[in-house]
């Protein structure tokens, strides 16, 4: 299995996440839209692209990424364009002549000749056009699911360029779309993104605006899956590790997300190649771990910590870094110490902040009183490159 470190894994490089995929279908079968929640780099995008490519019978998926989108109308335009170009719609219209006419009449309003749009007077209202398009899709043809990647980022973009009101409007408009009579029970949405959705929504409006979404969590790999995945990754580069050694690696990693497995696989291969075919021992594994935090992997780690500056400002930001640094050096942090840092930085809502850090996969609570890093690798990186 080829190591696709950095890119969303596709095709043969995708490790089948069967239980996650099953979870998604279970919710979709009930006719609910989803918020796919997971810390960044756990494999959300890969899962979405996978179900788009290999849908279950009766499902039609359309994937869009709206990371660069910074206005409401553009957002719906992106979805509209993706829909009419998608194989899903192609298949639907081929299968069912009835919807063909309907779609064509919608398209008639947006004439496209080699991507040159001949616009009518005024700006096209893509929300309207989109719902018109949905009107033509009949529920008996199957489920159409729109997968929206980087949705929270889009909220942030709109917030940045047009302010709070526009962002709130945008969130409400999405809710409106989900509850639209042409959409309800027929079209479903899966939202995801590397920023957490709920804190983003809370920043702008009430959480009730998204309370119709069902959260599906993407869990790390199980020990068995991780063992299988790592073995396959290494096989590709002609490296083979005994089971005890693989277990040794996994124990050291703690948090078994595909991305970290790809990272360690890359470094093990590197150590193996540098030793020119020498035997791999626990010592070489240790060396590979040390290498993970080499600067060349900066692009993989830096966003982890950089995104915190978008989430937290001023005192809160300083508080977060004090906490992260403290744990990096001391392994754990007690609630008392967190409160102490809170006083130091005049931060009262320490609980909310700790919840975000936990929800976004930085930390977990080992028992009632202590937090530690989800991943020793993140901890190592922080210790080496973030701590003063």
């Amino acid at each position: 299995m080829k190591n696709s470190l950095g890119n969303p894994a596709r095709g043969a490089a995708f490790y089948p996440r069967e239980s996650e995929v099953r979870k998604i279908y279970r919710v979709l079968d009930k006719g609910t839209s989803i918020y796919l929640s997971a810390p960044r780099r756990v494999g959300k995008t890969s899962i979405l692209k996978h179900i788009e490519e290999f849908p279950q019978e009766g499902y039609f998926f359309v994937y869009v990424i709206t990371e660069s989108v910074d206005s409401e109308n553009e957002f719906f335009k992106v979805i509209f364009e993706a829909l009419i170009r998608s194989e899903a719609i192609g298949k639907l219209s081929k299968l069912y002549d009835t919807i063909k006419g309907g779609i064509e009449s919608v398209l008639g309003r947006v004439k496209t000749v080699y991507h040159v749009e001949i616009r009518e007077k005024g700006e096209t209202d893509y929300f309207q056009i989109l719902t018109d398009l949905f009107e033509n899709i009949k529920p008996e043809f199957g489920h159409v699911v729109i997968l929206i990647d980087e949705f929270p980022q889009t909220i942030q973009n709109i917030l940045n360029s047009d302010g709070n009101e526009a962002a709130e409007h945008f969130i409400q408009k999405n809710r409106e779309l989900r509850h639209h009579r042409h959409v309800l029970d027929k079209i479903h949405f899966v939202y995801t993104g590397s920023l957490s959705l709920f804190p983003m929504v809370e920043k702008v409006t009430e959480l009730t605006a998204v309370n119709d979404l069902r959260t599906v969590e993407v869990a790390p790999l199980s020990l068995v899956e991780a063992q299988d995945f790592l073995t396959k990754l290494l096989e590709y580069d002609k490296v083979s590790l005994s089971v005890p050694l693989i277990r040794y690696v996994l124990e050291k990693m703690g948090w078994l997300i595909p991305f970290h497995l790809q990272l360690i696989a890359q470094e093990i291969v590197d150590v193996f190649e540098a030793s020119e075919g020498g035997e791999i021992t626990e010592k070489s594994i240790d060396q590979a771990f040390d290498q993970i935090v080499h600067l060349r992997n900066k692009p993989q780690f830096e966003p982890y910590f950089a995104r915190l500056s978008a989430l937290f400002k001023g005192n809160e930001y300083n508080f977060v870094f004090d906490v992260l640094e403290f744990i990096a050096l001391q392994e754990t942090i007690s609630i008392d110490k967190i409160l102490d840092f809170g006083v130091k930085h005049s931060v009262e809502e320490t609980r909310r902040i700790m919840d975000i850090l936990e929800g976004d996969g930085y930390l977990f609570k080992s028992d009632e009183k202590f937090y530690r890093y989800t991943s020793p690798i993140l901890q190592m990186w922080c210790r080496k490159h973030i701590c003063k």
């Binding site: 696709s4 890119n7 990424i65 990371e67 980022q153 060349r296 992997n297 966003p303 500056s309």
Partner: protein
Amino acid sequence: MSVKTLYNPASLSKPELIESFVVRTKNFEKIFSDIKSSDMKYPEKHFLIQGQRGMGKTTLLLRLKYEIENSPDLNDWLLPVFFGEESYDLTSLSRLWEKLLDFLDDALDTDGEHFNHTEAFIDFEDYEKRCYEYLIEVLQKNKKKLIIFFDNFGQLFLENLKEKEKRRLREILMHCSEIRIVGASAIVLQDLHDYSEPFYEFFQIVRLDGLNKEETYQLIERLQEKSEQKIDLRKAKGKIDTLAILTGGVIRTLMMVYQVLLEDKDGSALNDLETILDQITPLYKSRIEELPVQQRRIVDVIAKNWDAISAKEIAAQIREDGKRLQTKLVSAHLAQLEKNNVIEKKQTNTKNHFYQLRERFFNIWYLMRNGDRRDRRKVKWLTKFLEFWYDDEEGMDSFLERHIERLKSGSYNSKSALLLAEALADINKINTIILDQLMEATLAILNEDQKPLLNMGQKKLALATRSFKDGDLKRAIHILEGTKEKINSHRFVLSFFYFLDKQIEKIRPELLLLDDVDYEDFDFLKQLSVLAKDPKLLVDVLNKNTKIKQGEKDLAIGEAFFEVGEYDLAENHYLKAVEAGEIVPYKHLSMISFEKGDDIRAEELMVSGFEQGAVKVSDLLEFYEFHFDQESEDKSKKLLELLPKDNPYYNFYHGLEIFNSEKFKSDKFDDAILYLEKALIDFDKINVRDIKFTQLISNLLFYNIEVSLDKQKLKSLLERLEEAEIVPSFLKVYAAFGYTVLGEYKKANEFLSSDSVLKDSIELDSLGGNFNDTILLFLAKKQYHLALGLFTKNEVLKEVFKPTYYALMTLLKEDYPNEVIKMGEELNQPVNDILERIEEMKLEYA
């Protein structure tokens, strides 16, 4: 490969580049095997090659491109595009798509059709998106994929993208399977990449670090293949290793240095280097200007030092508004500069690390472009490289001989010759005779404008001085004798060398050829005629001199006669000088009278000189100090009253007077110390470090050790002693005692074990007592082995200080049981006395 193509690998033909590609082969294989094994059905990972300038990034990109073009498996569907460093207009996403469409028109022979199609998208808000989608459509229709080799990807492209474009790029990198990017990005001074930009995670970073020793060896081995001047690589292994370190393993610097050191037959490599430095100047300049002011100055100091330098040394060289920069502050800046990749730290065992510019080529540029034209530092780097490469005399000599031959061949670039001459001039181990020949050969090919730049006269002087310092006086004389167009400095130095070489007879003819001597050299001239014991020479040289006044001439001539002891002639000229209006040389005239036995006249002269203000009261006091009669002492006392309070010697002589006349440990004695301590401050103001300073310090030390025993003052007095010009043995012993009291035994031992101290302590009873006391204090402080060291160093000590020696042996009897047995019975009592004394001292000096 010429130095110029080192900077533009794209100008090499495809076969040439492939042929010369000998290092970075592992990186190449790794990336290429990834490309080869990818069908690009799904988005593939992108690569970003990073490294300092000159690490081989561009060459690696081109090598990959050529390999794809040459692979039948790939070249029918994968189109490689190369964007070189000169793609300055590639600053937006839409421009990238336009350029790629333009490229496709070429590759697909569509005569501009695709590019022209974008006309239709103009004025649309989503122009970029339309262009992109059209590009993808064209690619899909033609069943082609693109791989973009993008040089300077970070600086030229990424950094210029707008926020929204960056997010678009991330979307595209994540999901586009038609385009793949292999970028290269230079870390010039500061690593400007902001890795928090989310698209970086789609790139696998390939860092090109400096070549290691093995790779450097391979590179040079390949360069050697075409070389005429082959070096024995196995023998040079150590040097190649060092070369790898000195250049930081940067390929381009390595090859440049290699060519300059070994391949440059006509100076063209150095000349090319000049051109390249000019080309690179705007880039480096702007990088420098981006630094905060204080960091700029720190970089300046480090760059000009070339070798690694400590924070403390840096701080010592930087002043801000008349204040030294604090080392702490310098360290903080250094940390920042290190983080930004401008400098690198060389770890040492101690806390003091050394710092140098990370990019050695940048350092070369800095020296060459920021030193003024005559600044020798300009070629410091070249000096260092030459020095280490030709580290044995033989190698250096044959290099020089080769170089001289090349200069004589007539085709050598004169500017390069000048640079090389400057660089070589600073290498100490070069045979000065050959260096002299080289300078002559260099001078011969310079044009009239360049000749003054070589500064031949100064070079000859330097060469001669160096030969002299190397102990080769004959060679120094030879070089100076061979100097054409001698100026006065040459003649003076040459004459001095004649004196040293005992060719006194040659001094006169040489000095007679001097041009009109001016005041600056006047004194040296006088000294030389004194050394030659030929005051008449001074008379002859000054005879036709127009620059110096007659009175001063006579004064100087008088002095010269005075120095050689010809007092009559001296007096004669002194009187002439006085007639001509010069101030009466009272002191000398007084001494002449004194020598003649006319004490009264001598005193008269001093007194009237004093009255005239030409003789200082301190001189007069000194005069009386040589007369130990009561009368003189009384006069001294009176004179003291005359001494004004603001006279810098006021406190000194008052203190001294009490010190000499009062009883030790009396109340008044303490006053003496007050005066003397003030005198120390006075002396500092006018920087007195002569015998008076010695006298002062020794009195203070004496008082401290014998009376007050104030450790803090003692410490500072001992430190002050270091400044004294004269430190006689008795004072050294005092110092040793003082240091022992302070527990600084190593220092104490240094003073005590000096040859003069040992000799004088053995010969002079007065000193011997103090010496012995110091050893006893050693023993009281349990420094048995230091004491033992002294006795072992000089066997005679055992004899002279027998009881002390045996006391030591008693203390060390477990180690040396046989030694105590040798002790005669008559020594029992003295040894016991000493052991008791040691016990007392333990308490006294606890």
